[in-house]
Amino acid sequence: MTTSAAAHLRLSVGPDSAPRALRVALVGNPNAGKSTLFNALTGMQQRVANFPGVTVEHAEGVFVHEQTTVTLIDLPGTYSTAPQSPDEEIALDVLTGRRQGVPAADVIVVVLDATNLERNLFFATQVIELGRPTVVALNRMDRVAAEGTRIDVPEMIHELGVVVVPVTATKKHGVDRLRHAIARATSLPRPVPRIGLGDESDVERRYTWISGIVERCVARRPANPRTTSDRVDAWLLHRVWGLAAFVLVLLLVFQAMFTGARPLADGIASLLTMASALATQALPPGDLRSLVVDGVLAGVGSVLVFLPQIAILFLFIGLLEDSGYMARAAFVMDRYLRPLGLQGRSFIPLVSGYACAVPGIMATRTIQQREERLATIMVVPLISCSARLPVYALLIAAFVPAVTVGVVSLQSLTMLGMYLLGTGAALAMATLFRRTLLRSDTRALIIELPRYSVPSARVLLASVWQRVRIFLRRAGTVIFSISILLWALAHYPKPRDVAAGVTPEQQLSQSALGRIGHVIEPAVRPLGYDWKIGVSMVASFAAREVFVSTMGTIYSASSDDGTAALVQRLRAERDARTGRPAYTPLVAIGLMVFYVFALMCTSTVAITVRETGGGWRGVRWAALQFGYLLVLAYGAAFVVHRAGLALGFGGGT
């Protein structure tokens, strides 16, 4: 293309009055900043992370520019038009219109990381070769300027034959110009293929072409041989110090979860106590008052007090991802995962599992090898997700003394122990799967280490708020309804002869819930649990947090004191037969171990069915996953209880 043609491309972006709609696909290499640009263009909030594969499924957003309504599709990061993993396949299917139910894009926007042009241009030139209306967004221009590099944009337009718009997505610089270019892209001449998308020899020719483009368009200042990032990486990627730093980071997270969340959790607990007192004053004695105080407030409230801890967990996960540390952790862990038959790429789904197993399982799409991917899916639920947090936090607060060991509290260490147990079990089971059912060679890890960056407070808080909202919605719908049902089961049928002076404990025992509990009891007795724990465990098959709300409802129903916190009630609970404490630290540890292993989450089962191939094949994998985790949970809780008794730590009931 001549210089005049390039000028035409820039000048012909004039106004167009007819209203119209465009479908625009946003593509680019992983970490090019697509999701940030997507948010900047559409105003929609979406998770942004500094490692490949976070955008597993495409997201859509809309913006209107002058008379044009643009539907923007954010696609998973892709390195080339020859897909290597399931999520790259999805991106290319959407791009070429092969994806079922998704029409082909009218315009393609290729996002380039301007600080890494050579690699990013490989995919960009391939997309341009498709001959579709294309706009190139040259992202991270602020960093380019900070490095003292100059990119000749008009020359790049001339070389590529498409509109090139320099932008800085994080600061929203150049975003309006990009919107304008997108809206006008269909009225410009189509790009002309130069190399073709053929065999290996074309790859060589493409790289030669790209080298020429970079040579002509980029003027670099002599590079500093050793940057600050390199010096930090020398420690964080070190064989020994890297692992030590990772464990230290985890410890810091759990310490913050306990100490940082306490004032907020106490505040929520005080509000709930006030609400209970108000309801007791406002309503005369009767079923409705009991339903509000013992059912709703005791059930939902016992889960709500853990909201600050969940918010802190997500704040730290976001901080680690957005700062660029998570990809380093994957790199460090690759060395330790390889002998187990996994690689660093499996580490990303496993870390996502700390938030929730569902996105963790979806993130396995970045794993290219089928056996490795299946093995990772099978063990992701062993990673302690945020739903387990209320269970751990309740039992630890009730039975682990609040003493410090050095500078760390024993409660934080116990929590860390549960997380490490889950992680260790996940790695052990992955090894077992890789050496039995899912044998294959392990591929080498190629992962991009993004530059360290200061996370945006806005993006971080938006992500925490999103998770808090999901948690509150769950508390206000599923947990609220189940608490009401459990209250009904715990209060009906009522004893026939109320005048005879039936205690709340006796009433509970004779209720439908009590009768169900007594049927379940023989199954949980070998683990040292009474019928109340048994009922709570069965109820939590719907969702793990329901365990805590059920305990809240049950202990509220069996007590005269409607204001005592659940923790105090658990500590005071006595076995009806022996008169000894019903809960001991051993019972609490056994229960936590059960929850470390058990897969009690319908969403995870559904996503496993889908991600393991769907159909009966998917159902079989999901059944295997659910079954082995249940056997593991029961077996481990049994071993903990029996070993504890044998060592003289004292049993439960």
């Binding site: 009767g286 197993a357 569902v358 945020s386 739903a387 719908t477 609220f480 309804s481 009401i484 889908r610």
Partner: protein
């Protein structure tokens, strides 16, 4: 509010909660079935709306 009226209101609330839980369970089952038959799942139980 008399004890009888309270009882009636409580039963109505419980019935509402039962209907809601039943609906959620049905949606989850349906989403799992859609996933098993290989179609694109949506709604409750299909992901995202987890913890």
């Amino acid at each position: 509010m008399t004890a009888d009226v309270q009882g009636v209101v409580a039963i109505a609330v419980v019935a509402g909660a039962a209907l809601y839980v039943a609906r959620r369970a049905w949606l989850s089952w349906r989403a799992a079935r859609i996933a098993a038959t290989g179609e694109q799942a949506s709604g409750c139980g299909s992901g995202c709306d987890c913890h």
